[in-house]
């Protein structure tokens, strides 16, 4: 009846390194090539092998699999205890030490490149990924998708079998079919490939090879959310080198935010929604970082219709209808060009002068913004969002050119890619009946292709549709063959990161369900002899690193995860004004949206992207960084819009939150969905995230949210105009993790403008009740002070820099992955029972009188266990289940916990999480059935668990441990190293908690606060350092660094104080006065949410 701890370990490690020498890559290599997984399985566990292919009842599989420690049978031996067996390896793999994790370099490919990763493998199971710090981008952090991708590997609902017209078939049958098809292809007439975007040189190579072999074959690339608009614009606005035959070449931007001092984002959510966010966040936060009052952080201007993470982090945010952004870009360009006045600009100025100004913006705003950009030539940057049309991008490109940013804040990198066409062209050919064989690799067009293509039906016009897919999804429904695809952690491959560096993708585990990689699929369909993806990647790598040392280079490439010196360089190339002029000439006056002419913005979701992560429970339960809604998307709109359309509602607390359902009508299509009031959103604009409302996906994503894709048109995939909104009178429960949006004047997130910070650098320490003199004092000494022998060698602590944090939520995913945190489902979240150990609190602050919340400032604050020295949770636990350890950690002992929940009640930060049900053992849709529900974690899911962390059972409390398993491992490692010596102090930086490691913004620093040299101790000595609710004398070990805004005093929307500070000052007095809350004006206003 105690928390079960998973010691299951998969034996795939048997194959990793079992047959070869010290270079483990080699062995992996050989293994994947040779005896297939199934054969091994038959040999090793004959009775279990058949179960493997049965997706649902792999009941005993992991038991059979756990090669080293296998609990078998409960036969009693005598009456003492059950007899348990230890099954050692029959042939121990070399280099394998049970219980010692190994790290392999690999990369997670995505549509715009790849994230270089280090994957942790324990007993053959990849269980965690981190950034690969050796990669030239030197990024330790990752985005939330990479962190959550581990769960996709162990997704119980992924495609596990070959389907032929919906009927399970053998893998061999599929191979035979592919071979037979290959023989009949001839010149490839009627052969069409529908691909997703990829940066893989191997795929490019295979595509070119296939094109040569089948000259009549055609290739199409489709992404539902295409993030390449910048490169299209750059390619047009600059002279581009010529490409070889069969390929196209172009230019793409490589942003260097770290070098920027002023950034203007034109509907560009570069922090959350564009390509390469992890690196951009890192650079942005470095650029915004402020160590000393003399530092000047980057200033960010954001213009956007929706509230995005970028807007949330802006110093000046302008909400503007999407249709007005081009006009704003044009007028800004005009202002800049007038100041720079070059001969080339005259013609353009003439055209720009005729354009009407954008609705809803003062000329002053544009003028001052332009002036600021001009004042920072070469250190400014203009970014256009990928959902904006080409003219905006071309104007951004022009501005960067004119402002001298090319080569500094934006590098132009050239690239080539094989020729391909769009999905619209493919649809036309399909409708014309010209397609015999259609191979769909990845993607999910039946779900997310523009509605006017009617893809599900169009797809069937091909004679044969072969689908390589990760799920039995919508596209697979209309396919003749479904062949399961591999996860990247099971795949051989390669990719290029955003800077062009070649990275390797190598498997950490053999394909669990016999999936194929894209490379193998193409090779088999083309009928080639070499189908082994490893061989294909080697072949490609040979073209990049030829020579006698190939084997050496190859192993280095795999070991390090990248091939050095393959990054692209900035190319100087002439600017082509004509392209901009041509585009601007086509810009007509765009009417602003109105009450009956609403604009809809379809946007990439922060959690499920375009739907590709729809079945990932961690991401589904991840609260949207802005709205904090989980498990679905909504129709977001401003308060005013909702009021005018009769769908306004009072935001109730978690537990009784129901949103009205509204109906959106555009071009005869309707969509019903719950309304969400989004502060700061442009009026008459409706935002709706893509990626939900799936009809064929796994159990997690099925029926979650609404499918906004039904309203999309191929002509305008990102916006719809002239929409109408009407109430339906129905309501819909919403599961949000934070319903109260304001801080009530409490100084929880402390911030100031740069000016004030320079005047009073320690303003953050003079806020709240602890600013009173005399200071709070404890009645007694801490037992560690009174009994010095109880105090340990290290004293752990953490600093969270709110100046760096952008709210991206990667930490939450990392924590979930590292600490075996279960998901609880929408129903439970709606009841306030999510389990996240670290959460991101998001507050809005608004000016008095802004009842429509139209211009809020947004604050994010990671909130996790504060590890208080005087922890209130501890003294109320009756069973010593939560106590302090010698190094200052607030310890939570699951096996001692009886579950009184008193600790949670008494935690001022409410960071403790209670297992109200057996979330790990029971299906989340059958929690209320109790013992009648099936018990046990799906075996596949067990493999995703971190064996170093207990899997908690129901009835126990849990919380952030500062990743105690990492601390203990580091301490043990240090002690083993010390042996018979006293060198037991863990060096600074040796321990990085999962959240800190994943944080792309480098906002979280952990270390020994008793070591004055440590980074964390030094940060704690900074003036921006403060404790949340310090007046309670809890003495948190987690402290925060106040946020500093850098608004432009010349701007019309300049606020001399951040709004939250203004509210605090109104209620409690100036923080600089150093006596904090005045007794005569203590009131906070009761507004009860919006």
């Amino acid at each position: 009846m105690n928390p079960t701890h998973q010691r299951a370990s998969a034996p795939n490690d048997l194959r990793v390194g079992s047959e070869s020498g010290p270079r483990y890559w080699q062995s992996l290599d050989e293994v994947t090539g040779t005896p297939a997984f199934g054969e091994w399985l038959e040999r090793e566990f004959p009775q279990g092998a058949s179960e493997w292919h049965d997706p649902v009842s792999r009941r005993h599989f992991v038991k059979l699999m756990s090669a080293s420690f296998l609990l078998a049978g409960l036969g009693l031996s005598g009456c003492r205890r059950p007899e348990e067996k230890i099954h050692p390896f029959s042939k121990a793999p070399e280099n394998y030490i049970h219980g010692v994790p190994r790290y392999y370099a690999t990369a997670m490919p995505d549509r715009h490149g790849a994230q270089p990763l280090l994957a942790k493998s324990l007993d053959g199971r990849p269980i965690k990924v981190e950034g690969n710090p050796k990669h030239p981008a030197n990024l330790r952090g990752t985005d939330r998708f990479a962190q959550a991708s581990v769960l996709d590997l162990y997704d119980v609902d992924r495609a596990t079998r070959v389907l032929n017209h919906g009927v399970p078939a053998t893998r061999e049958a599929a191979f035979d079919f592919l071979a037979a098809t290959a023989k009949q292809l001839g010149t490839g007439d009627g052969l069409c490939f529908l691909l997703s975007q990829s940066s893989s040189p191997s795929r490019d190579r295979l595509q070119l090879l296939a094109q040569q072999q089948f000259p009549q074959a055609s290739f199409y690339v489709y992404e539902s959310i295409d993030l390449t608009a910048h490169q299209q614009a750059l390619t047009r606005s600059h002279q581009t080198p010529l490409a070889e035959a069969g390929s196209v070449s172009g230019l793409k931007p490589y942003y260097q935010l770290e070098k920027a001092k002023v950034i203007l984002a034109l509907d560009s959510d570069f922090i959350g929604g564009e390509a390469d966010t992890a690196r951009l966040i890192r650079d942005f936060s470095r650029s915004r970082a402020i160590e000393n009052p003399d530092d000047t952080p980057v200033r960010l201007y954001a213009v956007e219709p929706l509230m995005t993470l970028t807007g949330a982090n802006a110093d000046h945010r302008l909400h503007l209808a999407a249709s007005q952004v081009p006009a704003l870009a044009a007028h800004l360009a005009k202002a800049v060009l007038m100041a720079t006045a070059t001969p080339e600009s005259a013609e353009l100025l003439g055209i720009l002068g005729k354009l009407p100004p954008p609705a809803g913006v003062t000329a002053e705003w544009i003028q001052q913004c332009a002036a600021d950009l001009l004042a920072h030539r070469g250190r400014s940057l203009v970014l256009a969002g990928s959902r904006q049309a080409q003219p905006v991008h071309l104007l951004a490109s022009l501005l960067n050119h004119v402002l001298g940013n090319e080569g500094t804040t934006v590098e132009l990198h050239s690239f080539t890619t094989p020729k391909s066409d769009s999905i619209e062209a493919l649809a036309a050919r399909l409708k014309a009946g010209q397609v015999n064989t259609l191979a769909i690799l990845g993607g999910n067009p039946a779900y997310n292709a523009p509605a006017d293509l009617d893809w599900a039906a169009t797809q069937r016009k091909a004679k044969t549709v072969i689908r390589l897919g990760y799920y039995e999804d919508e596209t697979a429904q209309g396919a003749d063959w479904l062949i399961p695809a591999t996860h990247y952690l099971e795949s051989w491959g390669d990719a290029r990161t955003s800077d062009g560096t070649l990275v390797s993708i190598q498997p950490l585990i053999a394909p669990l369900f016999d999936g194929l990689t894209e490379l193998e699929f193409i090779a088999r369909l083309a009928g080639w002899n070499t189908t082994n993806p490893n061989a294909i990647v080697r072949e490609t790598f040979k073209t990049i690193a030829p020579g006698e040392l190939f084997e050496l280079h190859w192993s280095q490439f795999l070991r390090e995860g990248f091939w050095p010196n393959t990054a692209s360089r900035h190319v100087e190339t002439p600017f082509q004004w004509s392209a901009v002029i041509e585009a601007v000439q086509r810009l007509g006056p765009a009417s602003a949206p109105g009450k009956d002419r609403l604009e809809i913005v379809f946007h990439r979701d922060y959690r499920v992207d375009d739907g590709r992560y729809n079945n990932n429970g961690w991401l589904q339960e991840l609260p949207d960084p802005i709205s904090k809604i989980t498990w679905e998307n909504t129709l977001t709109m401003s308060v005013k819009t909702a009021r005018e359309h009769g769908v306004y509602f009072e935001n109730k607390e978690i537990g009784k939150l129901r949103a009205p359902l509204a109906r959106v009508e555009v071009d005869g299509q309707t969509l019903e969905g719950p309304v969400w009031l989004q502060p700061g959103q442009e009026d008459y604009t409706i935002g709706v995230a893509l990626g939900y409302g799936r009809t064929h996906t796994g159990r997690v994503g099925q029926n979650a949210g609404l499918n906004a894709g039904r309203l999309r048109r191929s002509t305008s995939p990102h916006f719809a105009v002239n929409a109408k909104l009407s109430p339906t009178g129905k309501t819909h429960p919403i599961a949000t993790t934070q319903s109260h949006w304001q801080m009530e004047g409490r100084p929880i997130v402390r911030e100031a403008n740069l000016e004030q910070f320079r005047q009073t650098p320690d303003f953050a320490q003079h806020m709240d009740l602890d600013a009173h003199e005399p200071k709070n004092a404890a009645l007694y000494k801490h037992p560690h002070e009174k009994n010095p022998q109880m105090k340990g060698l290290h004293q752990w602590g953490m600093v969270v820099d709110l100046q760096r944090c952008v709210g991206c939520s990667a930490c939450m995913m990392a924590c979930q992955s590292e600490n075996n945190i279960p998901i609880t489902g929408k129903d439970q979240v709606a009841r306030g029972r999510e389990m996240h150990w670290i959460r991101l609190d998001r507050y809005y602050s608004v000016a008095p009188g802004d009842t429509d919340l139209s211009n809020p400032q947004v604050l994010s604050q990671p909130m996790l266990c504060q590890h208080c020295e005087n922890a209130p949770c501890e003294s109320v636990c009756p069973v010593n289940a939560t106590v302090h350890d010698d190094e200052g950690l607030n310890v939570m002992v699951y096996n001692r916990c009886v579950g009184t929940r008193y600790c949670s009640n008494n935690c001022p930060y409410k960071v403790r999480r209670f297992n109200f049900f057996d979330y790990n053992q029971r299906p989340i849709d059958k929690l209320y059935l109790g013992p009648l529900a099936p018990k046990g974690m799906p075996d596949l899911l067990q493999m995703a668990k971190n064996p170093d962390v207990t899997v908690r059972m129901r009835g126990v409390m849990e919380k952030c441990t500062y990743c105690i398993q990492r601390i203990e491992q580091a301490k043990i490692a240090q002690k083993i190293k010390a042996g018979a010596s006293d060198n037991v102090r863990v060096p600074d930086g040796a321990i990085i908690p999962a959240c800190a490691q994943a944080c792309p913004a480098e906002a979280i620093v952990f270390g020994d606060v008793s070591d004055p040299e440590s980074r964390v101790a030094q940060l704690k000595g900074k003036t921006r350092n403060y404790s949340v609710l310090g007046f309670l004398n809890t003495k948190p070990r987690t402290t925060y660094q106040a946020r500093i805004r850098n608004p432009n005093p010349q701007m019309p929307d300049y606020q001399h104080q951040p709004l939250s500070l203004a509210e605090y000052t109104r209620l409690s007095g100036e923080p600089a006065e150093a006596h904090g809350a005045r007794a005569e004006a203590p009131a906070t206003t009761e507004k009860g949410g919006h």
Partner: protein, 216 residues
């Protein structure tokens, strides 16, 4: 009215009191004996598929612990050797002994040998072998005189109290590092205490009694 109750009834309270005391003592003693790990664990000696004798291999042949348990100084776990380790010698020595048949079968077939687990900490206990053996705690301290066991049995209770005893006072169990795997090594108790204290001081052995040491 007559007396409802016989005369002896008046002695009932005394009798009940004595009975209660007696049965209480019995229950306590029984629980103490049968429900404590001392009884339920110590002495556990299941029949193994192969009657491997540590006495023969360690005491008589002088094998080092790490020859078979090769990961003990590197990992959480002291691994059970695979048959190939046995076959290093037994392909020549006793090559056709019937007792070794399971080993040979496993070596050939790949089916693991189903050894019966003897020492096992609960799921929620994280015990690391490497840190103990590298810091001067011998195998003997927790496993007893394995070198003298013809068949391995559970020698120490391995309860939380057992762990705490040593963590509170490690001195009696600290040895010179080179003697950790020497299971015959003994020391004069008085000298041992002085030496253990010196080691604990010199090596900064701060064996922790904090919960996170073992539970997380």
């Amino acid at each position: 009215m007559a007396n409802l109750y016989p005369r002896w009834f008046n002695r009932l309270p005394l009798m009940a009191g004595a009975g209660l005391l007696l049965s209480g003592a019995l229950v306590t003693a029984g629980a103490w004996y049968y429900l404590t790990p001392k009884y339920s664990r110590v002495g556990y000696q299941p029949v193994q598929p192969v009657p491997y004798s540590h006495k023969t291999h360690v005491d008589q042949l002088g094998l080092d612990c790490r020859y078979c348990h090769s990961a003990v100084d590197k990992s959480w776990y002291a691994n059970i050797p695979s048959p190939s380790v046995c076959m290093n010698c037994h392909s020549q020595v006793l090559a056709s002994d019937a007792r070794l048949a399971p080993i040979r079968d496993s070596f050939k077939s790949g089916e693991p040998v189903p050894w019966v687990q003897i020492h096992r900490t609960p799921d929620f206990v994280y015990f690391n072998h490497a840190v103990h053996v590298n810091r001067g705690v011998s195998c003997v301290s927790c496993h007893g005189q394995i070198n003298e066991m013809v068949e391995v049995r559970h020698e120490k209770p391995l309860t939380m109290a057992f762990c705490l005893d040593c963590h509170r006072n490690p001195a009696p169990n600290l040895r010179p590092p080179e003697e950790v795997y020497n299971l015959r090594w003994t020391n004069d108790p008085a000298k041992q205490l002085a030496m253990g204290k010196k080691f604990a001081h010199d090596w900064k052995i701060m064996s922790s009694q904090n919960c996170y040491t073992c539970h997380r």
